[in-house]
């Protein structure tokens, strides 16, 4: 189905709201503007019940300069159709409140907290409106408002963060972080334990907040590509592809086929080296250093391949708006195939070894279980949702770049059946996530393997002249953590008016608080690693 047909399919069912909404179409995006913010709640309830849509993100934008007040866009997506629904409401500065969707889409709680921090607009009914990203910030300073300057010096006063008190006989609190024992990013975890068992966990993140969204508004558009690579160092390709695609959508650029192929190759290489690293991390957390060091050698090998191909071990500096900067020659492609063939041969041997090792499997099995309903409520994406049988994959639902042209070998009926049986065993524990990553790795290998010839039509196209001011576009990509969304609104003179980033980490982080319940404290590291969230990608 074309984008137009999908949109009309959805819009035809919305006729009874006709008097309340205004409709704008843009590629695969359908924008609906609600006249009355108070109708938002009922409307979204209808969207969930009748369309089974997921809440992807909530984007707030300070458009007071354009006499729109604040605009809040609720973005919904479908699990099956290549389609994004934007439901927009206007909020006047004099009434800085908007309706909360917490009882329809529990995942909205997080986005509403973020808007409360950054814009000072409060979702009245939201049951948990604690500060999320800004620490010790004054109550009347909101960084993403347009009257706040990037370099404004903010006087911070030390405030005590209020963790939910858990009391009772024998209940102890264990504070962990922000600096952890390993070489990982900072974040605070407050465990409440009864004996060894975790009965509550509250996370407090935001320690790596660097003001990326505000910074982008003050940078030339071509430099923002470098910034997007540094949202999370290990997701550099996914994030820069999502950003570039957003701009290319706005500018209506069609990039060369070869550039699409190169983006795909690097995206899959990024997925492979990160999955190797994560699987190794899981193994070292369960005390199996043999497997961990073997897998880390494979990771290093892919990183050395990255270096030979792109000049950067973690693939910085590959993308640019309109294409790519790095060429891949036929020789390089052969190098990729050789290295991957060898690496996967070794990997399968290690994997066989692991499967037959009961001490590893026992630690992974039934550890950190999440429920399917929870995954739906929290709007989980990527491995975290695939481990419980919810297939979310931006490469399939919203095919972008070269992915629609990839033809993988069709599975035989027997293989399909076997895969289905395998999926039934996925109960949302660490083992399921381990297996989902292994599946993902093999799929990436198959995708790269299917590229045997490179097209010869140039690396990039130029962006052309000035982009239309205040036009917007949604870019998306699948990182190794899951679906990544970048929404960009262009300002005057090719500047960026608003850059909203939603990484998979942001939508997935809350699940850790549920997954660790009834597990022992010693299993927290392996549960955390099995999800493998980025702190930097969450805090921005």
């Amino acid at each position: 189905m074309s984008h137009k047909e999908i949109i009309s399919k959805y819009y035809s069912k919305l006729e009874r709201f006709d008097s309340d909404i205004k409709k704008i179409e843009n590629n695969n995006e359908l924008h609906l503007v609600l006249n009355d913010p108070n109708k938002l709640h009922d409307f979204c309830k209808f969207l969930k019940q009748d369309f089974d849509l997921r809440l992807l993100t909530i984007i707030c934008c300070d458009e007071r300069k354009l006499n729109h007040g604040f605009k809040i866009r609720h973005v919904f997506g479908s699990d099956t159709d290549d389609f994004f629904l934007f439901v927009t409401i206007f909020i006047d500065e004099s009434h800085p409140h908007f309706p909360s969707l917490y009882d329809v889409f529990p995942s909205s709680i997080l986005y509403e907290r973020e808007i409360n921090d950054m814009f000072g607009l409060t979702a009245k009914e939201n049951p948990n409106i604690k500060p999320l990203i800004l620490h010790d910030f004054p109550n009347n300073v909101f960084p993403l408002r347009k009257d706040f300057n990037l370099n404004d010096d903010v006087k911070r006063n030390l405030k005590q963060f209020e963790f939910t008190p858990i009391t009772g006989e024998g209940v102890c609190e264990i504070p962990v972080g922000p600096i952890h024992a390993g070489i990982i990013e900072p974040g605070h975890f407050r465990f409440s334990v009864l004996g060894e068992t975790i009965i509550n966990l509250e996370t407090r993140l935001g320690y790596t907040h660097k003001g990326i969204e505000k910074l982008a508004e003050n940078m030339p558009i071509n430099d923002v590509v470098f910034l997007s690579e540094r949202i999370s160092g290990d997701e550099s390709i996914a994030n820069s592809v999502a950003f570039c695609q957003a701009i290319e959508k706005i500018a209506q650029l069609t990039i060369p086929q070869k550039a699409k192929q190169i983006r795909l190759l690097f995206a899959e290489l990024e997925r492979i080296y990160n999955h190797f690293g994560t699987l190794g991390g899981i193994l070292s957390d369960v005390g199996f250093p043999y497997g961990a060091s073997r897998l880390n050698i494979l990771k290093e090998q892919i990183m050395q391949l990255n270096e030979r191909l792109s000049g950067s071990r973690i693939l910085f500096g590959v993308n640019q708006i309109g294409g790519v900067k790095i060429n891949i020659t036929d020789e390089m492609l052969i190098d990729i195939h050789f290295v991957l063939d060898d690496a996967f041969q070794i990997f399968e041997k290690i994997f066989d070894h692991l499967k037959s090792n009961p001490s590893v499997m026992d630690r992974l099995r039934n550890t950190g279980i999440i429920e399917k309903q929870l995954a739906r409520d929290l709007g989980l994406v990527g491995i975290s949702s695939r481990c419980i049988g919810i297939e979310t994959d931006a490469r399939q639902t919203h095919p972008y770049g070269y992915y629609p042209s990839i033809n993988l070998k069709q599975k035989t009926l027997r293989e399909t059946m076997e895969h289905q049986v395998e999926l039934q065993k996925r109960i949302g524990d660490v083992l399921s996530r381990f297996m989902s990553r292994v599946d993902d790795l093999r799929q990436s290998k198959a995708i790269i393997g299917s590229i045997t010839t490179l097209k010869g039509d140039g690396l990039s196209v130029s962006m052309g002249d000035e982009l239309i001011p205040y036009s917007s576009g949604l870019g998306y990509a699948e990182s190794h953590r899951g679906e990544t969304l970048h929404w960009v609104m262009i300002g005057e003179d090719n500047s960026i008016f608003r850059y909203k980033i939603r990484t998979a980490s942001f939508s997935n982080w809350p699940v850790i608080e549920h997954a660790v319940l009834n597990n022992i404290v010693a299993d927290f590291p392996v549960i955390n690693k099995s999800f493998d969230f980025s702190y930097s990608g969450n805090d921005l």
Binding site: P143, F148, L150, N151, D152, D153, V154, R156, P178, I179, A181, G182, I183, I184, E185, P186, G206, Y207, T208, H209, K210, G211, I212, K214, L215, M219, P220, D223, F226, L227, R230, I231, S232, G233, D234, S236, S293, N296, I297, L298, E300, Q301, Q304, E307, R308, G311, S312, R313, I314, F316, G317, I334, D335, F338, V339, D342, Q345, I346, Y535, D539
Partner: protein, 271 residues
């Protein structure tokens, strides 16, 4: 078609050691097109013109290149502490700017990272030689292992990937008597990454205060040296040295494992 020789030794499943023999050697393990370090290396007949200077200054997203024109005395300053190795400047002026695959870029003083038209001296030591030198120095000074505590003060996690790589079987830093410890109270060296986000300022100070004397602080990556692409804004402080005293700066975005080892050696030489 032949397999790539460079990777062959890694993917052998036998029990032989996979650790690279000479990690600080410049030749075979580092790709020729690896972007490691930007130098000002003018071609023989290169003449700096006013417009070239301005173009270069504007081409840099992190303002690492500054152009000076006092009384027809033209100067280009290149601050490697700010450089994120994007390669923009090389595209604009390939006859002046060269990107090398070197990693021996750690400096003791922040100012030493700023280059003004100079030819660089080639660095000859291998990773192994550097490591052995480090090992003997550590033995002499401490009579025990050197312990490092890594602190992420808001990095994008790129530097963490490379620091983690130091511990893998290929770089295997423990063979030189260097271990990463879980608490700053056990540490001789603090390895700090990130532009020092304001939210981490307090935690970093506490960690610094908890580290026993004598202590060494190493700023890792362009962000930690200068704020990098994030600079100094409402959420960042623009470099670790605005919070705690820094002994050695290791630039790069991110610095490769060899560069980290070189920086640690330089820090030890300071004691």
């Amino acid at each position: 078609m032949k397999k790539s020789d460079k990777t062959n030794h890694l993917i052998d499943m036998s029990f032989k050691s996979v650790a690279i023999k000479d990690p600080l050697k410049m030749d075979d393990t580092i790709a020729a097109n690896y972007r490691g370090y930007v130098i000002l290396d003018p071609d023989k007949d290169f003449v700096l013109k006013d417009e070239t200077g301005k173009i270069l200054e504007n081409s840099c997203p992190t303002h690492a290149i500054t152009y000076q024109n006092d009384d027809s005395n033209l100067k280009i300053h290149l601050d490697n502490g700010k450089c994120i190795l994007c390669g923009n400047c090389q595209v604009k002026s390939p006859e002046l700017i060269k990107i090398t695959n070197k990693f021996d870029l750690a400096k003791k003083r922040r100012d030493d990272l700023i280059e003004t038209f100079s030819m660089s001296v080639p660095f000859g030591k291998t990773y192994d030689e550097l490591g052995q030198e480090l090992k003997s120095k550590i033995n002499k000074i401490f009579g025990r292992s050197l312990t490092i505590r890594e602190i992420d003060a808001g990095s994008c996690n790129g530097c963490e990937i490379e620091i983690n790589a130091l511990n893998n079987s290929v770089y295997d830093i423990e063979r030189f008597g260097i271990t990463f410890v879980a608490s700053p109270r056990h540490a001789d060296i603090l390895l700090v990454t990130g532009p020092a986000s304001k939210n981490m300022e307090r935690a970093l100070k506490i960690a610094y205060d908890s580290t026993p004397n004598p202590k060494i602080v190493i700023a890792v990556g362009a962000c930690a040296c200068s704020g990098g692409i994030f600079g100094n804004n409402y959420a960042t402080t623009g470099g670790i040295d605005s919070i705690v005293p820094v002994n050695v700066y290791i630039p790069g975005c991110p610095p490769r494992p060899q560069a980290l080892l070189y920086g640690i050696l330089m820090a030890i030489n300071k004691i």
